[in-house]
Amino acid sequence: MRDPSEWPLGRRSFFRIVGGAGAAGVAAGCSPKPAIQRIVPYLVPPDDVVPGKPTFYRTACRECGAGCGVTARTREGRAVKLEGNPEDPVGRGALCARGQAAIQALYHPERFKGPLRRAGGGPAAPVSWEEAEADLAKAIVAAAAKGPGRVRMLTAPEPGTAGAVQRALLAAAGARPQDRVVLDLLDPGPLRAAGAALLGRAELPIVDLTEARSVVALGADFLETWGSPVELARQLADGRTRAGERTRLTWVGPRLSLTGVSADRWLRARSGGEADVVLGLLRVAADPAVETGRSKEARALWPRLSAISTADLASRAGVPWGEVERLGRELVLRRPSAVLAPGPQSQGADATRLAALALVLNSVLGNLGRTLRYGQGGDEDAPSSMAEVRALLDDCARGEVDVLLVHGVDPAGLLPVALGAPAALAKVPLLASFARRPDATTPLARLVLPDHHPLESFGDVAPRAGVLNLLQPVMTPLADTRQAIQVLAEVGAQLPTPAKLASTDPYDLVMTRAGERVASLRAPGAGLPADPAAELRAAREHGGLWAPPPAAVAPALRIEAAGRFLAPGAPRAAEGGGALDLVAFPTALRGDGRADLPWLREVPDTLSSVSWTAWLELSPATAQRLGVATGELATVTTAAGHADVPVYVFPGIRDDAVALPLGAEAAALLPATLDPVSGALAFAGVRATVARAGKRARLPLLEGSPYQHGRNVVPVVTRAEPSPPRPDLSARMYPEPAHPEHRWAMAIDLDRCTGCEACVVACFAENNVPVMGPEAAEQGRYMGWIRMERYLGDEPGGALDVRLLPMLCQHCTNAPCEPVCPVYATYHTPEGLNAQIYNRCVGTRYCSNNCPYKVRTFNWRDAQFERPLDMQLNPDVTVRSRGVMEKCTFCVQRIRFAEGRARDEQRPVRDGEIVPACAQSCPAQAITFGDANDPASRVSQVARDRRAFRALEDLGTLPAITYLARVREEEPS
């Protein structure tokens, strides 16, 4: 037999004949013959929808009190992506991880499909809205007849129409104002109480770090959950990179949080020692030897402060006096500054004292009215204290509450178990829950009246004076849900004395109220608008009404009231048993512990790299003493209860402390201790013992090694060495590919980046990145295209030196992944992108093995997008299937969109016109994208910065991503 290669009819010719003859046929191609598809046309095409093109709606975020504006991108009538509203002064176009994940709550598979009623002890059965509302009205009438206090409400803060409707309904039901209890677990209530005591203003100041030269955060993790994180992250980043002087951030607390990682200095105060640190700072700031031109507050306080022994303070705070003194001197020199406290990590049973001391210090330093602005708050719906929540639960348990309306909160699941919420709520004859999906409270509810998602609702939120962000539905409701304010208004209309509301229609309610505010939201002197209706229409289109805020007031400190906070804290009682300080902390992804959305659970925590589960942080020394290692289960016991939590050994925590994120485990461990002055829940000041549980947990941990092992992958720069070391790359072996038109490139400023993970969630949303679940995460099969690479130091046991590096495909000019692909599925495009063609990929994974950055992810199984979560999928991006490699594309769909638009308008692509999802979402505006071929483009300018470096540059891969090194401050002189 002859060699087949000698056949006159070769393989290619054979296929050419077969294929060519079928040129007019339809069966060619590799796709399986499709099933018959139906195309159903519109009956009447909507004016604002062009199939295949996005439609944008402006609305607002309701995930926390910050109230950022939102731009929702919709396709064919369904929301696919949430981004910030660039016109909104709070978020300025950015949106945090939780805000972006709100879209998964909209499409959550477990959402209630309609109202439910539970008769007796039986299961909940569907009921019509009319019946449910009539039931509720009847119960309210019966309860109101028994006297005040029988109808109560427990709600999340609703600073807008929703709150006004709630109050109107309760008033119509004869309820007293205190019968409406507002629950926000993370509200820094002690700061409000301190303001009332010292300044006569029971409000939270609006923090503005724009001018701040120094910032001291004592447990206030303002880059994650405290205050308005998106806004504060941007302000800090601007201060960090402004010409001249760099804003200096100090973190005080027993555990390094993400805000602590961004800080230039960490004062490892013991848990509960924060107030003594502030007292020490106050003592330095008021010392005539430090500053001669002291304020009158400082002069008045000095006699009391001078009597305090610095050694005592230092020992109680757990930090050397020298460090406190140095920080105090820095604050005196660098004005204005901002001293922020308390946050959950520092909020103990003396939280009001900490808040008050921080206010006194801010006042002495002249920060009030500058960085801490009073009189600008939008505090329309101040949360109640935990004492009021507890009083409500106590009344429920005593059977003194007949009707309890629960809106936007999950008291049975979120509150510390020690408060006994489930048992108390079970005593309420009619508990009506407005929850959108099952939580720990809904099984106790007799009526479940599912609310619309904010993306299906009308609403308004006024996070501060001069800002009114409006919510509008971006799509038709998915199920037979009804907006809570409509339900309340309709129930209110059925009462004997109907609620005083103009309408029962949410649109009318919201717009009437917004109309009343148009005048107040205009610049002073601008007068009344010529056409308020037109102004409102424009406001709806733009997402809100914004005016310059009124001038901040600098309230005078009541020095006589400050006196009682100046005494040093009681020395801690000695105790044995090796008890540790329990630190319960919120995180940027988990918030107050509610994290139950797929993206928020799948994305690993920046510092621990743990996903899907809570973890217990122990310092290496403590872990060794207890005989536990990362991944082992430990039993934590407090006076309130115990919980088994997997250990993560973390050098960023004091040896005398143990930390875990807020959530079910923390709720089991926290006792119901309250700060007696403000009534706030004491998260801190809890003693815990930790013991080996003797079992290993399957801990989903993404990190390989948390140490750099001498490679200096993430360099830092100092004033002495303003540039990171760069290798000599002048010798080239291979010719470089040409980029005739564009060379897309990115620059990431690590001095701005805070590691908040907003970019990661944005990438999941934009690029249909699948969520693979905890089992895959345990095997390291995380699919994110961008991840926060973080190093804890150089070698295990060495100095703690946390460095962050957002790692995504570097789109190398000499990409190691490209030559190893046997099927040409990955290649270098003429525009410099490292492209991955899914339909060519056969899944050899050679590319991933050859990638030095480990940014390629492999689909080990088909992704599951449980209905209706699949409605969120971006139609412009392929949903990858099993056996295919995938990676960052620089959002090529956005590049093509901008290029197409530029072509239509017959102009070149403008610099800044293309914004990948990660860059768009970044609160700190750390990411720049553009054309490196254009030397005038922003990305080219940023890449020429002297702080520039490239990841693993010595490998000669010539990445398209330039990082700007973090600035390490030398210790102040």
């Binding site: 037999m1 079928g22 007019a24 339809v26 195309i39 046309p41 063609i837």
Partner: protein, 174 residues
């Protein structure tokens, strides 16, 4: 021997494909004729497929658009067969029931084709869809395979220098 047999197999396979090459279009729920609309009534393509010039999809005309004409063109007494069908259309439109068409042209999910770019570059609809205006029942004329797309893209690239994107994989696959 062997080459001959291979040739025979290839020829047989080719014959099968040629026989299958001119299928009628798929059955549609109503007897809609593009010939009547596009040729006899001289209605332009984008009068009904309104999004072709500005979006990825050309768009199937909405029922409201059908009704725009057919509230006047509702009978044809001279042609009993047509009259019957026109009269059946009336109730369908009045009841607000959309016609569920059977898809004729389909691209795999990993292809991102856009009508907008092709129409705006001066291509005629018939270049890909064939003489639809002469078809009673629409059928797919072009194979819509990647090789077939690239024939044109390669030719354009030869004609116009500097159009690297025309044959870049990520132009259509992303």
């Amino acid at each position: 021997m062997i080459p001959l047999r291979a040739l025979a197999v290839a020829a047989a396979l080719a014959a099968v494909r040629v026989l299958a090459a001119e299928p009628a279009g798929p059955a549609q729920p109503i007897r809609f004729s593009h010939k009547v609309h596009a040729t006899d009534a001289t209605i332009g393509c984008t009068s009904c497929h309104v999004y072709a010039e500005r979006s990825t999809v050309a768009g199937i005309p909405s029922m409201a658009r059908c009704f725009g004409c057919h509230k006047f063109v509702k009978e044809d007494p001279a042609n009993p067969a047509l009259d019957r069908e026109l009269k059946a259309l009336g109730p369908l439109l009045r009841e607000g029931k959309p016609i569920e068409w059977t898809r004729v042209h389909r691209l795999p999910d990993h292809v991102f084709f856009t009508h907008e770019r092709h129409v705006r570059s001066g291509m005629r609809c018939q270049d890909c869809h064939g003489p639809v205006e002469q078809m009673e029942v629409v059928r797919q004329v072009a194979p819509l395979t990647m090789g077939w797309c690239l024939e044109c893209h390669h030719r354009k690239q030869r004609e116009q220098a500097g159009r690297a994107r025309l044959t870049d994989c990520v132009t259509c696959h992303k």
